[in-house]
Amino acid sequence: MIALDKRPQPSRAWSYAAPVLAVVLTMLVGGILFAALGKNPVEVIRTIFLDPLFSKNAWFYRPQLLIKGAPLVLIAVGLSFGFRAGIWNIGAEGQYIIGALCGAAVGLAFHPMESWLVFPMMIVAGAIGGGLWGLIPGILKVRFGTNEILVSLMLVYVAESLLAAMALGPLKNPEGMGFPGSRNLSQYPSAANLELISGSGMHWGVVAALIAVIFAYVLLARHIFGFQVRLAGQAPRAARFAGVNPARMILICMGLSGALAGLAGMFEVSGPAGQVTIDFNVGYGFTAIIVAFLGRLHPVGILLAGAVMALTYIGGGIAQSNLGLPAAAISLLQGMLLFFLLAVDVLTHYRVRFLNKAVA
């Protein structure tokens, strides 16, 4: 028999060790899965976790790490505020799409005018678009008591349909010979989110992600708002007693996470993706949920978790092309990571005791 005793306070050591252990367990169980698929598990794990960094083609993959990691970190930092406060925005994917659409629409509206003002305006439009999309479930929750998990998730599908409509309609490239998709923004200098240092993968989205991490850190550790966010999540009644307005907290958290997701979408559409297409979104908004939890909802943790997750994206891509691994196996690996993290987290809050059967 195994018994779990609740710890008087969560274990600090385990809260750091749990994500690491979760990664290790994912590698182990993932390896078993790959072996069942008839692959050499050691080779697959090495391909996914090490090749992007250390193989002879790493010069090509390393910039990809920043490109994949930046939107994950940017979105996850935004989500972490809501998650800490007990507000569950599951629809970052939709806010990401709307942010990209709004940003791209502003850029395309000015085409082909050249001005340094175009890109900043696109940034603002992306943030506002994503923020407003995130506010919809927030306002519905405050006004009518709806469940923000369901509403934000369902709005993802609305956003996807909107994306398809835009790519085929208003935003379609007039010179695109009827193909769906917008003009390529990376070929429009005023609106392009180009690499800041050639070959580094460093674009404005990476800069924004780093700034977001620093801001989030200061906010959580030093600012009354961060304190109120933590309080609202841990003890809602105490938060009200401390003067936190729950409705305002919901709106701020939904708006903030939506705005950051929108920004991520904007930087993606104007940079790495380049154009609005029907299949523009690749699930960053959902993966960011895993990143947020893997990073313990802590800004620095999220930075590290974003890097690990980007690694599985890139390494997974390599494994797909080089070893013929199915794409679903990679998604499975990412899901497993969250699964194991939640499981291992029991150790943070509980002490495991092995009972002697004779006594019990």
Binding site: Q9, P10, H223, I224, Q234, A238, F241, G243
Partner: protein, 525 residues
């Protein structure tokens, strides 16, 4: 009476880090009302849980009816004839009395049969209760009757009652005691857990006193002075709070026709509450929980805003102000629920000091927190109010009830409030901490603050209050000087609308002067 029902022999139970019971032995006779006395944490709960089969002792044996008794689970204990009424009721608000009773049975008969049984037993033992009523609409005393009748239907040999009177009015206590005496006379033994010494002296045949998990004394409570028993319980000599006479100060807080709808389905509507509190005065508000205490303190703290003119602080209408604006103006509150309301359980004491102190103690500047100042404030509270904890970095959850309560009350007092409102300041707090908290409240009033103490504990209210009023069904009685108020008068003030006729008649008969007209106001809002 002399026949033995239950014998406990050297029961010992240890939890990691603490010995809850150590070599506890005593006996309960058939038809005996036996008191189990002790402070919080003395091991009373562990002991009764052992008897009720919820806890397995590490060593020691029990004998029930001359047969070895080692229940593996509450079901086995019930089969052997042991029933228990818990301090916190386990009832479903949305279901009827009969349905609730059925839920607790192993082989429930038909609802119709249950209703008949409930009527029969409630009539037999003088516990009026309608089996078809919805539990959510019952008073605390009536809910307790549901629990008691649920036990009596099992025809128990031993009835365990855990702090049964903490939620009752004095009149309800009298009814309960009549029932218990009748049960004892019929041969049912009762194990009565309490820390209210006067009750035990009135009711019990024998008393076992526990301290730190061990039996420190067994006595006849009718022959032993309450003070002696209290000191046996605590292990030290208790100080009574001292207070000095004060001149009447200016009015600091005025409630003018404060009314508010119920915040949720089983909440209480506040009706036209009007009262003033002066500087240097302690106003005691008595009443059984669930009569509007939570709503009243929410209306005062700002968690439930009302019309601006309904609450006036030093002449300024603040009824519509938010929580922190009221704090800034000097109106501070300490709600009843320590963990989760007054303090965040998993946050450190430093963070909890910040929770209400950020504004008045200047722990933030332009929204940025001054952590060193917050830590210093927390340390200050810990030192001044003798909070037993390794330091301000420990979580609120790790503190005992009494220590956390000292911290919570201390946190508000050290912000120099002009008006302080506390709800149940010593609920679940050990005797020495309770004395310290009451003394701190009196000292605060001596220094010129107005203090409102909301409590169910009448002894406490009589000890600290200058004036006393009763909160019943969301209505506040006019305040009367606390000195010289008799228990009967208080009971009538607390009685509420359903005692209208009785109150009126008894008021006329019992006293002269202004009482009858005041009583009328109490019961006819």
């Amino acid at each position: 009476m002399s026949e033995t029902l239950l014998t406990l022999d050297r029961l010992t139970k240890a939890y990691p880090g603490v010995v809850a019971n150590k070599d506890v032995s005593f006996t309960i006779g058939r038809g005996e009302i036996h008191a189990l006395l002790g402070e919080n944490g003395a091991g009373k709960s562990t002991l009764v849980k052992t008897i009720y089969g919820l806890v397995k002792p590490d060593s020691g044996t029990m004998t029930l009816n001359y047969a070895p008794f080692a229940p593996a689970e509450p079901g086995a204990a019930r089969k052997a004839g042991v029933a228990m009424v818990f301090q916190h009721f386990s009832l479903f608000d949305a279901m009827s009395v009969a349905e609730n009773i059925m839920l607790g049975m192993d082989n429930p008969p038909s609802p119709h049969a249950i209703a008949g049984e409930v009527r029969r037993v409630s009539h037999l033992y003088g516990l009026p209760l309608d089996p078809d009523r919805i539990v959510g609409d019952l008073s605390a005393g009536e809910r307790q009757r549901v629990e008691i009748i649920r036990c009596l239907l099992q025809d128990p040999k031993l009835l365990i009652m855990d702090e049964p009177t903490s939620v009752l009015t004095p009149q309800e206590v009298d009814i309960l005691f009549l029932t218990l005496r009748k049960l004892a006379a019929e041969g049912t033994s009762i194990l009565y857990i309490s820390h209210k010494l006067a009750e035990i002296a009135a009711l019990c045949d024998n008393a076992t006193i526990l301290r730190h998990g061990q039996v420190v004394a067994t006595c006849d409570p009718r022959q032993t002075a309450p003070r002696e028993m209290a000191e046996l319980m605590v292990g030290t000599v208790l100080q009574s709070p001292v207070r000095t006479a004060r001149p009447e100060g200016p009015i600091l807080l005025a409630l003018k026709g404060l009314s508010a709808p119920a915040p949720h389905r089983f909440g209480t509507v506040l009706h036209d509450i009007t009262i003033t509190v002066r500087a240097g005065e302690v106003l005691g508000i008595g009443g059984v929980a669930g009569n509007g205490q939570d709503e009243l303190i929410a209306a005062l703290s700002g968690e439930m805003p009302v019309a601006p003119g309904m609450v006036e602080l030093e002449g300024a209408a603040i009824g519509g102000d938010a929580v922190n604006a009221r704090r800034a103006a000097g109106l501070l509150c300490a709600p009843e629920e320590r963990l989760g309301h007054a303090a965040a359980p998993d946050m450190t004491l430093t963070e909890n000091a910040l929770l209400t102190g950020s504004r008045r103690k200047h722990l933030e500047r332009n929204g940025f927190l001054r952590w060193p100042a917050a830590t210093a404030f927390a340390k200050d509270i810990i030192k001044t109010f003798d909070v037993r904890t390794p330091g301000p970095g420990n979580t609120a959850r790790s503190l005992s009830g009494g220590n956390l309560q000292k911290f919570v009350i201390g946190r508000e007092i050290m912000q120099n409030p002009s008006v302080l409102v506390v709800n149940q300041p010593t609920w679940g707090v050990d005797a020495s901490a309770a004395v310290a908290i009451r003394q701190a409240l009196l000292t605060l009033a001596d220094e010129g603050a107005a203090v409102i103490v909301i409590s169910q504990d009448l002894d406490e209210l009589m000890e600290v209050s200058d004036r006393f009023c009763a909160l019943t069904d969301g209505r506040l009685s006019p305040a009367r000087p606390a000195r010289g108020l008799s228990v009967e008068e208080i009971g009538l003030m607390l009685g509420g609308a359903h005692d209208l006729e009785v109150a009126h008649v008894e008021g006329h008969d019992a006293s002269s002067g202004s009482l009858p007209s005041q009583m009328k106001q109490v019961v006819q809002p």
